[in-house]
C-alpha cells in the first residue's frame, strides 16, 4: 500500500487504439492494491491486474492531458489520458512499483482468497495427480520403473522427485549420466506409448565439448533403447539449430556423437532460442499494434517477425517425434540446451498428437503439469513474475499454446476444449493469482509452501468447464486418434483472438461456438422432454385403460409440457440477448467474477454488440 499515493482520478479518458476517429470513453480510474480499475460513464468496468502489466509509459503532455500507456502481458494495451499531470505521475510511479514485485511472497496468489477451507484447497491441489498419470500410461512395467534417485532433489534440483527410468539403469549409471548433462538433467521418461512400447524421453545437452565421453550416459541411452522391445535404434532429437549446438561445444557442452552411442539416430530440428523468440514476438506486436495498418504492411510485417515460422518449426518437431513413434516404433530422446524450454514444447506437443487424452480438458491440465511445471519450465523467469533479468523473459509457453491453437483450427473436432480455455490458461500464467505457475521448479515451489499458501488454478477451470467445451468435439473418432497435421505455410495464421484479445472491434461479432453449444444443450433438453412426455402418455394410457383417469392426473401433465416454452426462451436469449453494459474483466476482480470472461463476452457479442457497434463502426468498404 505504501506505493499508492492516489487512489482515484476522475475525468480520465480511455482511447480506443484502433479507432480512426479518436473516439474515447470518459470515466474514473481507481488504483487498488491488486488492480487498476477504470469505470466509464456507461458503468462498464475494465480491470487490469498489476501483475499483468508489462510496461507503463508516460507520454509527452498534450492539451487534453497527460497520456499514460499500459502494455499488458496478455496483450491488452490501454491508452489513458489523465487530465492533471500530477495524478498521472502518481499513478505512473505506483504502477511501476506495483507491477514489479521483488519477492514471491508479494505476489497476488499469497493474498488471493476465494473463500475455500483448507481441505477444499488441498483437494484442489490433488486434482492433477502425476502418479496417476504415469499409471494411466501403464507404468511401472517390466521395462520402466520409478526411480528414487532424485527423491531429495539431490541429483537434479530442477527435476521433480518422481522420475521414470529404464529398469536396467542402475543408480550409479543415473548419477554418472546426470554429471554429464547440463544442470544434471539426465534422460528420463516423459511419455510412454503403451501400444508401441516406445517412450518419449527428455534431458538437457551433454557436456561433451569437443571430445568428452561418459560411459554411464551411453549406458543410459542404451538402456532406453533396450526398454523398447519393438525397435533397436532410438532417435536423439536436438531441438536446436545445428549452429547453436556446435557453438555450445566451445563451452564444454554440445550434442551426442553418434559414434559413441550405439544405435542412436541423431537429428537437429532447428528451433531458435528464447532470445530469438522474445524479439520475434516483440516484432509481431509492433506490427499488429500499428494504426492504419495496410494489408501488405501487415503481411510483410508478419513475415518479417518470423513468429509463424517458429510456430511451424515447433510443430514440425512434434510431428517428427510422433512419427518416429507411430511409424517406426522407435523411442525418442529430446533435448535442447537446458531441456526446459524447447524440450518441453516438443515433448508435450508430441504427446498431444499421439494421445487423445491430452486433448481433453483434464488431460491438457495433466500435460501442462507434467511436461511444463514438474519438469521445471522456469515460469517465473520466463513470464517475469518478479523484477528480474529481462533477458530471461520469453514467450515459450505462449508459443506452445499457439501451436495447440493451430491444431484446434486444423482439427476442429479433436479437442474437448475451445480457444477460450487456452486464453484463460495464458491469462493465468501471468496473473500470479494461483500457485501453479509461481516459481521455476518443484523444489522452489515446495520451499515456497505454495500448496499451503495458495490455490490451484485447475479446480477453478474445471468448475467452469462448460465455458471451455468445444461443442464439435468427437471423442470417439478413430480418425482423430493420432493427429497428423499438415504444416504447409498457409495453415499458419495470425492468432487474432490472442494478440488482439481485448481489441474487440477486430473480432468476429458473432460466435459460432456459443450458438452450437446452446443448440446442443437445447437438443438434449428437448429430447429429455420428449422422453418424459412419452412416458407420461404411456402412463396415462395405462391408467385410462384401467379406468382411473382423474382430473388431477390431467393437471399433472400440464405443468410439465411448458418445458418447450422454457427451451424456446433459452433460444431467444441466446439469439437476441438483452442489451446490457459490457463488462471486461482483466484477470480477476475483487468482486470475485474472475472468469466473467471471455466466453461470456463472446456470447454477448451477438446482435447486442452489433447494435452497440452501430455507434462506433465505420463504413470502410
Amino acid at each position: 500500500m505504501e506505493h499508492i499515493r492516489t487512489t482515484k482520478v476522475e475525468q480520465v479518458k480511455l482511447l480506443d487504439r484502433f479507432s480512426t476517429s479518436n473516439k474515447s470513453l470518459t470515466g474514473t480510474l481507481y488504483l487498488t492494491a491488486t488492480h487498476l480499475l477504470f469505470i466509464d460513464s456507461h458503468q462498464k468496468e475494465t480491470w487490469i491486474l498489476h501483475h499483468h502489466i508489462a510496461l507503463v509509459e508516460k507520454l509527452a503532455l498534450t492539451t487534453s492531458g497527460c497520456p499514460l500507456v499500459i502494455q499488458c502481458k496478455n496483450f491488452r494495451i490501454v491508452h489513458f489520458i489523465v487530465p492533471r499531470e500530477r495524478d498521472c505521475h502518481d499513478i505512473y510511479n505506483s504502477l511501476l512499483q506495483l507491477s514489479k514485485q521483488a519477492k514471491y511472497e508479494d505476489l497476488y496468489a499469497f493474498s488471493y482468497n476465494p473463500k475455500q477451507n483448507d481441505s477444499e484447497r488441498l483437494r484442489g491441489w490433488q486434482l492433477v495427480d502425476l502418479t496417476e498419470e504415469y499409471k494411466r500410461m501403464g507404468l511401472p512395467n517390466s521395462n520402466w520403473q520409478l526411480s528414487d534417485a532424485n527423491r531429495d532433489y539431490k541429483i537434479c534440483e530442477t527435476y521433480p522427485r518422481e522420475l521414470y527410468v529404464p529398469r536396467i539403469a542402475s543408480k550409479p549409471i543415473i548419477v554418472g549420466s546426470s554429471k554429464f548433462r547440463s544442470k544434471g538433467r539426465f534422460p528420463v521418461l516423459s511419455y510412454y506409448h503403451q501400444n508401441k512400447e516406445a517412450a518419449i524421453c527428455r534431458c538437457s545437452q551433454p557436456l561433451s565439448g569437443f571430445s568428452a565421453r561418459c560411459l554411464e550416459d551411453e549406458h543410459l541411452l542404451q538402456a532406453i533403447s533396450k526398454a523398447n522391445p519393438a525397435n533397436r535404434y532410438m532417435y536423439v532429437m536436438d531441438t536446436r539449430p545445428r549452429l547453436n549446438a556446435m557453438a555450445n561445444r566451445a563451452a564444454g557442452k554440445g550434442y551426442e556423437n553418434e559414434d559413441n552411442y550405439s544405435n542412436i539416430r541423431f537429428q537437429f530440428v532447428g528451433i531458435e532460442n528464447i532470445h530469438v523468440m522474445r524479439s520475434s514476438l516483440q516484432k509481431l506486436l509492433e506490427v499488429s499494434g500499428s494504426r492504419g495498418l495496410s494489408v501488405s504492411d501487415f503481411y510483410s510485417g508478419l513475415e518479417g517477425a518470423g513468429w509463424l515460422r517458429h510456430i511451424k518449426a515447433v510443430t514440425d518437431a512434434a510431428i517428427f517425434l510422433a512419427k518416429a513413434i507411430m511409424v517406426e516404433n522407435a523411442s525418442v530422446l529430446v533435448h535442447c540446451s537446458d531441456g526446459w524450454d524447447r524440450t518441453s514444447q516438443v515433448c508435450s506437443l508430441g504427446s498431444l498428437l499421439l494421445d487423445p487424452y491430452y486433448r481433453t480438458i483434464r488431460g491438457f491440465m495433466v500435460l501442462i503439469e507434467k511436461d511444463w511445471i514438474s519438469f521445471g519450465h522456469k515460469y517465473s523467469d520466463r513470464c517475469g513474475h518478479l523484477d528480474g533479468d529481462p533477458k530471461e523473459v520469453s514467450p515459450v509457453f505462449t508459443q506452445f499454446l499457439e501451436c495447440v491453437w493451430h491444431l484446434t483450427e486444423q482439427f476442429p473436432q479433436a479437442f474437448e476444449f475451445n480457444e477460450a480455455f487456452l486464453l484463460q490458461i495464458h491469462e493465468h500464467i501471468h496473473s500470479c493469482q494461483f500457485g501453479n505457475f509461481i516459481g521455476n521448479c518443484q523444489k522452489e515451489r515446495e520451499e515456497l509452501k505454495l500448496k499451503e499458501k495458495t490455490y490451484s488454478l485447475w479446480p477453478f477451470l474445471l468448475h467452469d468447464q462448460k465455458k471451455y467445451f468445444n461443442p464439435l468435439y468427437s471423442s470417439t473418432s478413430q480418425k482423430l486418434a493420432v493427429l497428423e497435421p499438415n504444416t504447409v505455410s498457409f495453415n499458419f495464421k495470425f492468432w487474432r483472438n490472442m494478440y488482439h484479445q481485448f481489441d474487440r472491434t477486430l473480432h468476429p461479432r458473432q460466435s459460432v461456438f456459443n450458438i452450437i453449444m446452446n443448440m446442443n444443450e437445447q437438443n438434449k433438453q428437448l429430447q429429455k422432454d420428449v422422453k418424459d412426455l412419452e412416458s407420461q402418455i404411456k402412463q396415462h394410457k395405462n391408467k385410462q385403460t384401467d379406468g382411473v383417469l382423474t382430473k388431477e392426473l390431467l393437471n399433472s401433465v400440464r405443468p410439465e409440457s411448458p418445458a418447450l416454452k422454457t427451451s424456446l426462451c433459452l433460444k431467444e436469449q441466446t439469439l437476441l440477448p438483452v442489451k446490457d453494459a459490457l463488462r471486461t474483466v482483466e484477470g480477476s476482480s475483487p468482486a470475485d467474477n474472475r472468469y466473467s470472461e471471455y466466453a461470456d463476452e463472446f456470447s454477448k457479442a451477438e446482435p447486442a454488440v452489433v447494435s452497440s457497434e452501430y455507434g462506433v463502426a465505420r463504413m470502410t468498404c
Partner: protein, 489 residues
C-alpha cells in the same frame, strides 16, 4: 453450326488424375460438343465423369513415346491431368478441347442445350428485380418512380428496361443526363435505406472532359434526390477511383462532378464515416467497383439481402441487371495465358468480401460458403443461362430467358439446400459492420485451396454443425405433435 467439325477424334483410353486426395480414374475418354467425358470400364464404378468444356481455362499437352499427357487448368482453379494412350489421340483430343472451350458464340453454348429433369424452362426467370424492388421502395416513400425510359435500351445499353429515379425528374431529363454519363449510365436508385430515409445511387462518371462541361438535367437529377430525401439531407459522391485517376480521366473525356455545379453534394475519394447522408457511387464505367460497393453496402445495411432469396435478388438486380459484363470479365480465369484488359475477377472479389462478412457474422447470412462457391463456379462456366451475356439488352437478343434455365431454379431445388445454406442462420435485424483491419481478413481457403488442400477435418466438423442444427429443428418440431397426441379426456 456443327460441333462435329471441331471434334477431331471420337475417343481414347485414358487415365485421369484429379488431385491429391482423389483416386485416379481410368476409362474411355470422349469429347462431345460441350463436354469431356470419361467412362470407366464395365468392372469399375458405373459413374460417368463429366467436365464442361467451357470451364477449361488453359490446356497443355506433352507427348512421350506412344502416350501423351494433357493438363487441363480449369476456371474454378482445379487442375486435371489426363494420361492418354496414343500420340495422335492425345493431340487430337487436345485440339478438340482447345477449339471447343474457346467458342465465343452465346447461343451455341451449353445452357441452350441443357434440359435437366425436374426443371421447366422459364422457371425462376420471373424475377423483375427493378420492378420488385420498386414495390418495396414505394411502400416507404413517394419520392421515387419506376421509369421505363430505357424500354428499348436506347438511353443506356447496359441498364435494364426499368430503372428507379426521382419522381420529379421526367424521362426527357433522364435522356439528357444519360448523354452526359459514360455509357449512358445516369444516376439511378440502388438502395433505399428506410430507417434514415436516405438513398444509395449509382452511375458512371460524368463526361465533363477537359472543358469541364456541365449538364443541367444531371445536376437537377441529383438536386431532386436531396429534395426527396429527408429535409436538410446532404449528399456524398463517392468516386471509387483515386483523386489523381479521376482527374486524369478528364483528358479522355470523363471526369468528376464539379463542386460548384452540385450544391449539397460533396465528392470523396475515400471511405467515409457514417453520416446519414445520400450517396452516389461511381468509378469510371460504373459497371465494376461501383457495383461492388453498392451491393456490399446493401448486405451490410439490409437484413433482407442476407436471406437466400434476398441475396439472389441482390445479385440479379445489382450485378446481372445492373450490367456487370460477366461475359467479358469471366471469359477466362487465373490460369489463362492471355490476359485481355476486359477480364477481371470483380465478381470473385465481391464473393470474397461476402465470405469475409460471413466469417465475422457467422449467424447473419442465410447462405453459406457453398452458395458463394457455386456462384463463383457458375459465373465462369455454367449449364445455366443466368450469367450469360454482358447486359439485359444482349440477353433479350439471345432470348436467354426463354431458351435457357435459370441458375436460381437449379439452386433452389430442395436437394441443393444442404450445400448452400447456413445452418446457423438467425435473422439479424441490425446493420452488420465488419472490421476491415488486416488482422480481421483471411485467405478464403475454401475457394483458393479447394482442390489442392481440401480441408477435410473442417468439412466433417461442418457436417456435424448441420447435424446439430437439424436435430434441433427435428426435436423442436416433433415436440408439439407429441403433446398434441395427449389423450383427450
Amino acid at each position: 453450326m456443327e460441333f462435329s467439325e471441331l471434334i477431331r477424334t471420337g475417343q481414347a483410353q485414358a487415365e485421369l488424375l484429379r488431385g491429391p486426395e482423389m483416386p485416379p480414374l481410368r476409362g474411355t475418354l470422349c469429347v462431345t460438343g460441350h463436354h469431356l467425358l470419361l467412362s470407366p470400364g464395365p468392372q469399375a464404378t458405373p459413374d460417368l465423369w463429366l467436365l464442361l468444356l467451357r470451364s477449361v481455362d488453359s490446356i497443355e499437352k506433352r507427348v512421350a513415346g506412344d502416350a501423351g499427357t494433357i493438363t487441363l487448368r480449369c476456371k474454378d482453379l482445379r487442375v486435371l491431368q489426363l494420361d492418354i494412350e496414343g500420340v495422335e489421340a492425345t493431340l487430337d483430343i487436345a485440339r478438340s478441347i482447345e477449339a471447343l472451350s474457346s467458342l465465343e458464340s452465346v447461343i451455341t453454348s451449353f445452357p441452350f442445350f441443357y434440359r435437366p429433369k425436374g426443371l421447366r424452362l422459364g422457371e425462376s426467370w420471373h424475377f423483375h428485380p427493378p420492378e420488385r424492388y420498386y414495390k418495396r421502395v414505394a411502400r416507404e416513400t413517394r419520392a421515387w418512380r419506376l421509369s421505363e425510359a430505357n424500354e428499348d435500351f436506347s438511353l443506356c445499353p447496359s441498364y435494364p428496361r426499368a430503372v428507379i429515379v426521382p419522381r420529379t425528374v421526367d424521362d426527357d431529363a433522364l435522356a439528357r443526363s444519360a448523354r452526359f454519363r459514360q455509357g449512358g449510365r445516369f444516376p439511378v436508385l440502388s438502395y433505399y435505406h428506410a430507417p434514415s430515409g436516405t438513398v444509395l445511387l449509382r452511375s458512371s462518371q460524368p463526361l465533363t472532359g477537359p472543358q469541364k462541361r456541365r449538364c443541367a438535367e444531371d445536376e437537377e437529377l441529383l438536386q431532386a434526390v436531396l429534395a426527396g430525401a429527408r429535409p436538410g439531407a446532404r449528399g456524398f459522391i463517392v468516386d471509387t477511383r483515386s483523386a489523381q485517376a479521376a482527374k486524369q480521366a478528364r483528358m479522355t473525356g470523363g471526369g468528376t462532378e464539379a463542386k460548384s455545379a452540385y450544391p449539397g453534394w460533396k465528392r470523396l475519394h475515400r471511405p467515409l464515416e457514417r453520416e446519414g447522408a445520400c450517396i452516389l457511387v461511381h468509378g469510371a464505367e460504373g459497371t465494376d467497383s461501383t457495383l461492388l460497393v453498392t451491393s456490399l453496402a446493401q448486405l451490410i445495411l439490409d437484413p433482407l439481402s442476407r436471406t437466400m432469396a434476398g441475396f439472389q435478388e441482390l445479385i440479379e438486380r445489382e450485378w446481372i441487371q445492373a450490367g456487370h459484363p460477366f461475359q467479358l470479365r469471366c471469359a477466362h480465369s487465373a490460369f489463362s495465358h492471355t490476359r485481355p484488359k476486359h477480364e477481371a475477377p470483380i465478381f470473385l472479389l465481391f464473393l470474397d468480401c461476402v465470405w469475409q462478412l460471413g466469417r465475422q457474422f457467422p449467424l447473419s447470412l442465410e447462405f453459406g460458403e457453398g452458395m458463394l462457391l457455386a456462384l463463383f463456379d457458375h459465373s465462369y462456366a455454367s449449364p445455366f443461362g443466368t450469367f450469360l451475356c454482358n447486359s439485359e439488352k444482349e440477353r433479350c437478343l439471345c432470348e436467354v430467358r426463354t431458351r435457357t434455365h435459370s441458375l436460381w431454379s437449379g439452386l433452389n431445388q430442395p436437394k441443393e439446400q444442404r450445400k448452400l445454406r447456413n445452418p446457423l442462420y438467425a435473422p439479424n435485424p441490425l446493420a452488420i459492420w465488419p472490421s476491415v483491419e488486416p488482422q480481421s481478413l483471411r485467405l478464403w481457403q475454401g475457394l483458393f485451396l479447394r482442390w489442392t488442400h481440401p480441408p477435410e477435418p473442417s468439412e466433417v466438423a461442418w457436417e456435424k454443425v448441420w447435424q446439430i442444427a437439424t436435430d434441433q429443428e427435428k426435436t423442436e418440431g416433433s415436440q408439439p405433435t407429441d403433446s398434441a397426441s395427449e389423450p383427450q379426456p
